[in-house]
């Protein structure tokens, strides 16, 4: 019983991290129609910043992490996203693929393939005992942070002028521009917010997921892939459905890895086949609801993408 509760709580925390990344990817997709495959490399850069400033005071180290990630986000926007704005979705996706590999190989040349350990706030990885339940502080913090970010973003999108403009741009960017929304300003703000979220993930991920304590050049790549899948499965057209998709797939991965036995001869019988199980579910969902699991079904004669 307690074991199940613990697995579910861990799965919720993992889902929260994936939901955060889904928000970051979904925000940029909303205003740019661009699926940013290089999002994980922002997290990677932030984690390297943390790992290299291990000896500095925590606040300074985290501030540096934010600075690095934000600078890199802006660089991506100006060097790549802006010139690509009129390109086809496929070209944009493959271009972000290339950027992701570029950043990975730079990290590989510069830092080597051997991982560096990141310990941000060691106290947070201590367990907290409630009755017979042992929960690490970071699990709770992660869930709270995700809720706060989502709440803050909802307020921002509904109560501020630039937030409303962002929503308008993501529903119909041409009409929005005709009505006086400045595309560049809206896009820059979206990219910055998505960068802030990447930095938050960079701080949380090494503490929350034990095998992510080592920063390597392909750090957060696996998470990015699964989140991208989750975002599309949830429904990439709206931020809420994208976020729910990210959370759901994270929760599914966490729960399945907790409940499946760790060995088995045939496919799908043990947790080494976790990826297969998740991806099979994804295919089934996409076949049943191609526009997204949580999206309102809309009818159009022909898909024009």
């Amino acid at each position: 019983m307690t074991e199940n509760a613990q697995t579910l709580l861990d799965a919720t925390a993992l889902g929260s991290i994936y939901a955060l990344m889904a928000i970051g990817i979904g925000l940029v997709f909303g205003v740019l129609r661009l699926v940013n495959f290089a999002y994980g490399q922002l997290v990677m850069a932030g984690a390297y910043a943390l790992a290299l400033t291990q000896d500095a005071p925590v606040v300074l180290s985290i501030a540096l992490c934010f600075a690095v990630v934000l600078a890199l986000s802006l660089a991506m926007e100006f060097a790549a996203f802006r010139p690509l704005r009129r390109a086809s979705p496929m070209t944009m996706l493959v271009a972000t693929f290339a950027i992701s590999y570029l950043l990975q190989s730079i990290a590989l040349v510069h830092f080597g393939a051997i991982g560096k350990i990141v310990v941000v706030i060691p106290q947070l990885t201590q367990p907290l005992t409630i009755g017979s339940l042992h929960v690490r502080w970071i699990t709770i913090v992660t869930i709270l942070v995700a809720i706060c970010v989502f709440a803050a973003l909802t307020l921002f999108l509904n109560r501020t002028s630039i937030g409303l403009q962002m929503r308008a741009a993501s529903i119909d960017s041409q009409t929005a521009r005709l009505l006086g929304v400045r595309a560049n300003a809206v896009i820059t703000v979206a990219v910055l917010i998505s960068g802030v979220i990447a930095a938050i993930v960079a701080v949380i991920l090494p503490m929350a997921v034990p095998e992510r304590i080592l920063v390597t050049p392909d750090y957060a790549l696996r998470e990015t892939i699964i989140v991208l899948v989750g975002v599309v499965v949830g429904g990439i057209d709206r931020l809420l459905t994208a976020t729910l998709g990210g959370f759901t797939i994270g929760f599914a991965v966490g729960a399945l890895s907790g409940f499946l036995p760790s060995s088995g001869d045939w496919p799908f019988t043990s947790s080494v086949y976790l990826d297969s199980a998740v991806f099979m579910l994804v295919i089934v969902v996409l076949l049943l609801r191609p526009e997204g699991l949580f999206a309102r079904p809309h009818r159009s004669a022909v898909e024009r993408v």
Binding site: Y101, S105, P267, F279, L286
Partner: protein
């Protein structure tokens, strides 16, 4: 005139591939360079196979490397001598463990496995388009990789497949690449190919003209899967060893990037992209080893280790940002006509 242009679209890419093969085969290059050229030819085969679906249908696929992987493992596992199988890949089904094939049958088997798997997967998947199709095909790659990495009844699992006969030399590599290019050309010129290209340009109009988009895409997917499987067979017979990781994300990225760098819309683009990126890759590898004089003079040393990866990725990113339609702009190969060149020289009169 029309038919001359049409033949040029086949002859151009084929000629380039053959010239590359001959240059390597006549001994103008070092043995190391020969291996690099052979790898480039295998890349041409994979990228053109990918083009058959992605280029003609306009639907992106991240899953094609799973067909390459199946072809490579099928051809690899079935050509290892029976006596060596228990040590190299223990735990195989007895059907796989007790039989071995020759080189050519193994390539046929690879094509069959890739094609059948693509058709089976394609029946449900080809209903999707856009991002959903991209993600679903990626999911296929994820499942295939995960199973190949762990299921030791069909392959080596987490181990490396070794002692695969290295039968794909320059002759077989060149013939293989030319074969794939030729099939791709005749497919895109056929009734089926034209229907699919029409659906790519305007799905609504194509459907109104009676084209069953799902069926046309499925044919292309199956053909493309078979070609990918065949190319996977060449891949394993060239390398001699194979791990599940060799035919996963990196290869997916590399082949897609080659296709997009060359230009998704044309066969010529697929061939050019594969060759240009391979050439850059081997140039940078040489520079890392200190074999390129110019680089040595400028830097005063050889290129830093790992620069190759950075260089290739940067080149792709730059081409995609500056030329979103790729190096060929999605156009087929044309023989420049004399009158056109003369006009160019004289200035813009026409």
């Amino acid at each position: 005139m029309r038919s001359r242009a049409r033949i040029a679209e086949l002859v151009g890419p084929v000629a380039v591939v053959v010239v590359v093969g001959i240059v390597a085969g006549l001994g103008f290059v070092s043995p190391d360079r020969e291996v690099e050229i052979l790898r480039a030819l295998v890349s041409v085969a994979i990228v053109v196979s990918l083009y058959v679906f992605v280029g003609n249908s306009g639907v992106i696929s991240f899953g094609h490397v799973s067909f390459v992987a199946l072809g490579a493992f099928a051809a690899g596992v079935m050509t290892i001598p029976v006596s060596l199988k228990p040590t190299i890949t223990p735990g195989l089904f007895s059907l796989l463990a007790d039989h071995s094939l020759g080189n050519v049958p193994s390539l046929v088997l690879a094509a069959a496995v890739g094609g059948i798997f693509a058709l089976l997967v394609g029946i449900p998947l080809m209903r999707l388009s856009g991002l959903a199709a991209g993600i679903a095909t990626f999911a296929v790659l994820g499942v295939t990789h995960n199973i190949l990495l762990n299921w030791t009844k069909v392959g080596p699992g987490p181990l490396t497949l070794t002692t695969v006969p290295q039968t794909t030399g320059l002759l077989q590599g060149t013939i293989g690449a030319v074969g794939v290019v030729t099939v791709a050309f005749f497919y895109q010129r056929s009734r089926l190919g034209r229907k699919l290209r029409a659906a790519r340009e305007d799905p609504a109009a194509a459907r109104a003209a009676g084209i069953d988009i799902h069926r046309e895409r499925l044919w292309a997917f199956g053909l493309s899967g078979a070609l990918c499987g065949f190319a996977g067979g060449l891949f394993v017979h060239q390398a001699g060893t194979l791990q599940a990781g060799d035919v996963y994300l990196d290869l997916t990225f590399l082949t897609l990037a080659m296709l997009v760098v060359g230009g998704v819309g044309s066969l010529w683009g697929a061939v050019v992209g594969a060759l240009v990126v391979s050439a850059l890759d081997s140039f940078l590898l040489d520079a890392e080893n200190g074999d390129v004089g110019v680089v040595k003079d400028v830097l005063g040393r050889q290129l830093w280790g790992g620069s190759r990866l950075v260089g290739v990725a940067a080149f792709m990113a730059i081409v995609l940002v500056l030329l979103p339609d790729g190096l060929t702009g999605g156009r087929e190969f044309r023989i420049p006509r004399l009158s056109w060149i003369r006009r160019r020289l004289r200035g813009s009169e026409g």
